[in-house]
Amino acid sequence: TRLLKWLQLELHPSKHVHYTVFREVTNAPSLLSLIKSGKCASLLLDESNIVSPFHLGVAINKALSAEASGKMKSRSVMTEIVLCLSLVNGISQSLNTFGLKPDTTGIIAVTLGESEEEVQRQVDELRGQVKGTVIAEDDSFGYVEREVCRVYGVTKEEQLVDSLEGAVVIKIATKI
């Protein structure tokens, strides 16, 4: 199956970034043990707190830049992406918010690679690991607005000024 959900990051032209959306996932607990044992090459995120592919891309861009300049705050690019999504600096708390939970049913998986083939391989592997439906068509993420506003501290005023996406993206980008 052709991969369609590529994120084009102009500042990191050599990196290939792909995301996959899974819904009606039934094996979150076993995926959690898979992650713990290091057998999952992709980053698995709970769908509830990610507003859009752009939101995701802003965090990934930040993480890749930190990696490129040797200034990551965590040990790997994948955990760095989680830190970049989060407004707090603790990896445990950030994983709690954005990572998988035993009752997670919607997953956004991030796959990075130096080549399209490498990404394709990892996504194929991923599809074997996740028991759920791959959403190939529309790009609207199943986020929970109330949750996103709580996690990102978005006030009603801020939401009126611009979109929820704009409010969240600026907080990620300006966090030190």
Partner: protein, 213 residues
């Protein structure tokens, strides 16, 4: 900054490039290194300006004022990547084109400025080139590079004075438009009275004004 960018403007502080961020139109504001300064001092100053600008853009939004959203802050190259609002024109051009509804728009601009000041956010460089008007008439405040936080009436008064001077020199005989801005300002900032009293004082001070008498 990627090679697909084109330089579009250069100021005293740095250069602005037009580029894309995940395919979206984006402006990259790159701050120069000032060679005449001591390198460590220059580094610290530039970083502080960068964080101030970001904080102020964020604060502006928290106060309900539309600003471009920030996509990425690169501290290594002192570059801010911002949303490029293409469906907008600068207030300066909007006025020059004598567009319809210019009075209403100016009042809306004033209301936004009132929101900033009621939240103690000083823009620092208010000109008609730093205010954009979107196609739906919404004002967008840009360029928070010289912005600070202050509760002082003096600082808010000066902020408005800078706008007044810039406005009247760029748009002579448009006093009624400036007045419309003040009308809007009064509507959104309850403590406007003190500010306008101070503004009168500052006008008397001004350049080439004698402080004798």
């Amino acid at each position: 900054v990627s090679t697909q960018s084109t330089g579009i403007k250069q100021g005293a502080e740095g250069r602005i490039y037009e580029t894309t961020f995940m395919g979206r139109p984006c402006l990259a504001k790159v701050r120069f290194k000032k060679a005449y300064r001591h390198p460590i001092l220059d580094e610290k100053l530039t970083q502080r300006r960068l964080t101030q600008e970001c904080r102020s853009i964020q604060k502006g939004r928290a106060l309900g004022v539309r600003t471009p959203t920030v996509y990425f802050v690169d501290q290594n190259s002192s570059t801010i990547y911002l949303e490029y609002l293409r469906d907008s024109i600068v207030l300066k051009d909007f006025i020059d084109q004598q567009s319809d509804g210019v009075v209403t728009v100016c009042e809306a601009v004033g209301r936004e400025l009132g929101k900033l000041h009621s939240g103690d956010l000083i823009h620092g460089d208010l000109t008609t080139s730093n205010i954009l008007i979107m196609t739906d008439g919404t004002p967008v405040i840009i360029d928070f590079g010289l912005s600070t936080t202050s509760a002082l009436v003096e600082d808010k008064g000066v902020d408005l004075y800078v706008l007044e001077k810039a406005f009247l020199s760029t748009h002579p005989s448009c006093e009624e438009l400036l007045e419309a801005i003040w009308v809007g300002y009064r509507k959104s900032y309850s403590l406007h009275k003190k500010i306008f009293v101070k503004l009168d004082e500052i006008r008397l001070r001004g350049r080439k004004r004698s402080m004798v008498g």
